[in-house]
């Protein structure tokens, strides 16, 4: 099948040149090893944002309370054992490093943590007014306490009765209860069917800090095996998503890169039968990769782990150029001559690929911009190295064994048939779009790199727990934290009205924990002096069976409260409330925002209108879902615009390089056909196109143009035509293999890009082969 003409390429050039090249490579590798800072924050794959709402969305997604919450579910044991496991694990998590707090719905837990509320009840309770401590009001309160004592339910309130006969602590708790929590069994949160217990934990690490989140997950797993061996543990939440996605992508990227590198190596060895030739092919690729990484580091200050993972895609493309040169050179032909001969085609192929990655580099997603810069610089360096370094190293082209390739019998009929299939594909895809199924993915969450299995688990657990996604809230702005809180407090009557109108089920105002300073001072000023209170209490107690000194602790607490300073954020340090406040009171661009989440929203549009009517208020209704959809749309529009610009540059390049409209058409037609067919197949397969698919389609365009250019170059005779065919077969096989391996990944991003490019490369190759002039010659292939 293969026959060697020459045993090995001659080392006529001094080995010194190889030494220089390898030394340069080592220096680059060392520089990369020293300077590269690998970043794992998944926030890099969120879009850059312009409006306040968008920045709020991103900050919420990255660091907000929602993003830090980990939902822990235990199942696989009986109810009693699960309740015990829930208590044990919660206890351990509350002392664990990496967690702000954990709660399982238990009242005791809450009361322990709520000591700060008990201490500050007179500043926090909305029921505190001067009237509250007059003899008639006290009398009514005491009678209520007597009834409580006699009732079996009173036991729960007994502990604080002597300190708090007017029930301010309970009033504070009612304020804080925003509803919507799951059912309690055995005193802890259970799913409705009683088969699963829930614990909510707030991690210290931000949601997108995938490393910190992975550490937190390990902590939970370890503690759970200690606390409840044999019980099933499920973890979910934005942080868990980030950690899992990272683990998966790193694992897949490593494995799949190894697979594709191995495959390409085997392919090269089979094609060249010479380790030196394989080394020569690898050199431009290695230079391109290292230069690309270093440039990304220089431009962005760090390289994202995902960018490194995607380096494999660069491998698949860059390897085409040295292959094209080496396989196109006639045996014994000076390599510099061959490089000159194909120079123009090579330059066009490189430049068009660089232009196709331009849209990526300009993307609002920092992660994608990194990929774009990596691709552009990597391809450019690999192209330059192919054109100049290889001929410098090797004087004569190596002898390439001849391979018998299946002849592409490009009968004119096949050409027309393929065109007809293309038209049909496009027509069918257009029809599905017109039939109302939009082709675009509009959910920002769907761009999450988390595996779909985990997203399903999350949805199931959330539904089970009765906890909807926190999506709608009111943001109250102010110049200071105090001003923002005062604004949040000011809109409460409006929220109450919405509640009584059943527009919302509940709201969770940060002003409940931190009423405005004036409000607190007014309440504290309403407290009577000890002597007055004692006298009034004596009047109120007359005729009741209480001991005269029963409520001394009450009088003492009120006296203490009178001297208290108002509650501040610092009062809650070290408690779950502190963590909650940090999430609900945030500083953004020099102004403060107090966030009041709304739950059970029936009609967002109606609320938005009602909020609008308030006019002039410093509070705004924020619907994260709507903002994120609009953002995704905006980014897609940007991406489309940038793609259009890239296409325009490509056309200009081709027009300048080929200097013939007919040739431009011959080159662009197969690539455009391949692109359109790929997009049509994806749409017909029911895939919603996301930004990641756009990226992949851009790569397809780059690859497709390369093929079309290589095919289009007018060959001189059957010999060269055979070599072209071989070089294309090798290039296509390496690309399809690289991306084919990537499509096997269970990480959605890798799968989407891998499958799209592999399919696209195959289709582009097919159209190029069928439609190009060199393929329509039916003379015998190289044998």
């Amino acid at each position: 099948m293969a026959e060697r003409r020459q045993s090995r390429p001659r080392f006529t050039h001094s080995a010194a040149r190889y030494g220089v090249a390898l030394a340069c490579l080592c220096a680059l590798a060392l520089a990369a090893w020293k300077s590269l800072r690998i970043e794992t924050d998944f926030g890099a794959f969120l879009p850059r944002s312009s409006t306040l709402e968008q920045r709020l969305l991103i900050s919420q997604l990255r660091e907000g309370v929602v993003s830090r919450l980990m939902l822990i579910a235990l199942d696989g044991a009986d109810e009693q054992k699960l309740a015990q496991a829930s208590r044990d694990l919660t206890e351990r998590l509350n002392g664990a490093p990496g967690f702000d707090y954990a709660s399982n719905g238990s009242l005791e837990r809450f009361l322990e943590q709520g000591e700060v509320l008990m201490r500050n009840r007179y500043a926090l309770s909305p029921a505190v007014t001067p009237d509250r401590f007059t003899p008639p009001a006290l009398r009514a309160a005491l009678e209520e306490q007597l009834a409580q004592l006699a009732s079996p339910m009173g036991m729960l309130a007994r502990n604080v009765m002597a300190r708090d006969p007017t029930g301010e602590f309970l009033a504070v708790l009612r304020e804080l209860d925003s509803g919507g929590v799951p059912a309690l069994r055995g005193g802890v949160w259970f799913s409705a069917d009683g088969k699963r217990v829930f614990i909510l934990a707030q991690t210290r690490a931000a949601g997108f800090d995938s490393q910190g989140q992975a550490q937190a997950m390990r902590t939970v797993r370890e503690l759970a095996t200690q606390a409840a061996p044999g019980v099933n543990l499920s973890l979910t939440g934005p942080g868990v998503f980030a950690a899992e996605a990272r683990r998966l992508i790193e694992h897949d990227a490593r494995l799949l890169s190894l697979c594709s590198a191995g495959f390409i190596l085997a392919l090269m060895l089979f094609a060249y039968r010479s380790p030196l030739a394989v080394l020569l092919v690898a050199l431009p690729v290695a230079f391109g990769l290292l230069a690309g990484m270093l440039l990304v580091q220089a431009v962005f200050g760090s390289v994202h782990a995902l960018t490194v993972a995607f380096a494999a895609t660069l491998l698949g493309e860059a390897v085409d150029y040295p292959n094209y040169l080496l396989l196109n050179a006639a045996p014994g032909e000076p390599l510099s001559g061959a490089a000159q001969r194909i120079g123009r085609t090579l330059a066009l192929a490189v430049l068009t690929t660089v232009a196709s990655a331009l849209a990526l580099a300009m993307s609002g997603f920092q992660g994608l911009a990194q990929l774009g810069v990596l691709t552009m610089s990597g391809i450019l360096v690999a192209g330059l190295a192919t054109r100049w370094l290889l001929p410098w190293l090797l004087r004569e082209a190596p002898a390439v064994p001849r391979h018998r390739l299946p002849s592409l019998t490009a009968a004119p009929g096949l050409k027309w048939a393929s065109a007809a299939v293309l038209v049909m594909l496009i027509g069918a895809a257009a029809w599905t779009v017109l039939a109302g199924r939009g082709p675009w993915e509009e959910d920002l969450v769907a761009l999450s790199p988390a595996p779909p299995g985990l997203r399903e688990l999350d949805a199931r657990l959330r539904a089970d727990m009765g906890a909807a996604e926190a999506g709608v809230f009111v943001a109250s702005a102010g110049a200071s934290a105090e001003a923002a809180l005062a604004e949040a407090e000011r809109i409460r009557p409006l929220l109450e009205r919405w509640k009584s109108d059943h527009w919302i089920r509940a709201y969770d105002s940060p002003a409940s924990l931190l009423p405005a300073r004036d409000t607190q001072l007014r309440r504290l000023a309403a407290l009577p002096e000890p002597a007055t209170l004692e006298a009034e209490l004596r009047t109120a107690l007359r005729g009741l069976p209480f001991r005269p000194d029963a409520f001394t602790p009450f009088v003492r607490d009120v006296a203490t409260a009178r001297g208290q300073t108002p509650v501040s954020r610092a009062s809650y340090d070290g408690t779950p409330f502190g963590a909650k406040l940090r999430a609900q009171l945030i500083e953004l661009d020099g102004q403060w925002l107090a966030l009041t989440p709304l739950s059970g929203v029936t009609d967002t549009a109606q609320l938005a209108q009602a909020a609008e009517r308030q006019g002039g208020s410093a509070s705004r209704l924020i619907d994260l879902k709507r903002i994120s959809t609009r953002m995704v749309d905006g980014y897609r529009d940007d991406a489309l615009r940038q793609t259009g610009l890239g296409a325009l540059i490509i056309l200009t390049l081709l027009a300048a390089g080929l200097r013939s409209p007919a040739r431009v058409l011959r080159v662009t037609a197969p690539a455009a056909a391949g692109l359109a067919a790929t997009a049509a197949v994806l749409m017909l397969a029911g895939v919603k196109l996301s930004v990641f698919h756009l990226v992949a389609l851009l790569l397809v365009l780059g690859v497709g143009l390369n093929y079309a250019l290589f095919f289009e170059r007018p060959p001189h005779g059957a010999e060269e035509r055979g070599r072209t065919r071989l070089s294309l077969a090798v290039c296509a096989l390496s690309t399809i293999a690289t991306f084919g391996f990537m499509s096997l990944s269970s990480a959605p991003v890798l799968h989407a890009i891998g499958a799209t490019v592999a399919l696209g490369a195959l289709l582009c190759l097919g159209f190029s082969a069928l439609w190009s002039p060199s393929a329509s010659h039916t003379d015998t292939p190289a044998s």
């Binding site: 009242l107 005791e108 006699a150 309690l184 069994r185 055995g186 069976p545 001991r547």
Partner: protein
Amino acid sequence: MPDYFMRGWRTAAVLLLWTVCAPVHAQAWDVDRLMQQLAGIPEGQVNYTERKYSALLSKPAVSSGVLSFHRPDSVEKEMRTPNKERYAIAGDEVVVARNGAERRYALASQPALAALAASLRGVLLGDQALLRRYFKMELQGDERAWRLALEPLDASVARYVTRVSVTGSAGRIQSIDTEEASGDHSLLQVQ
């Protein structure tokens, strides 16, 4: 000294006799037998008086009303004086009616609530399995005058209730004394 010795010896002897005789004597007085008797009494209602003793009170707070129970699992405590209040335990919830408003609580939501309901239901309806789920049981006395002490198994119950002592004669309950962790206790007497 000898007195102690004698008493100890007598107890040991009684215990020994009891152990030896128990298997022979099928009708021995034990928890099983008590529960059988309690389970055998017909459904109905009784009047009660309850005295609440508390460190906050100079004299016990007295209330009274009607206690009714129906198989399989419903118990209702209706207070008539000094206030009108009603606590109805049925299924897995308790319905509290006071001050003209009705509120429902899931028994399972708080272990102490579930345990209290279990003590009432278990004793009034003779449901041994229910009692064992929440309490350690100790029976003293004989069939004519027995005393059943229930001690909560779970720490989250013991935070509120430390012991429930029930006295009675054969299948008739005389009093239920609930001791709280606060030192308060309430003695419910059946008339």
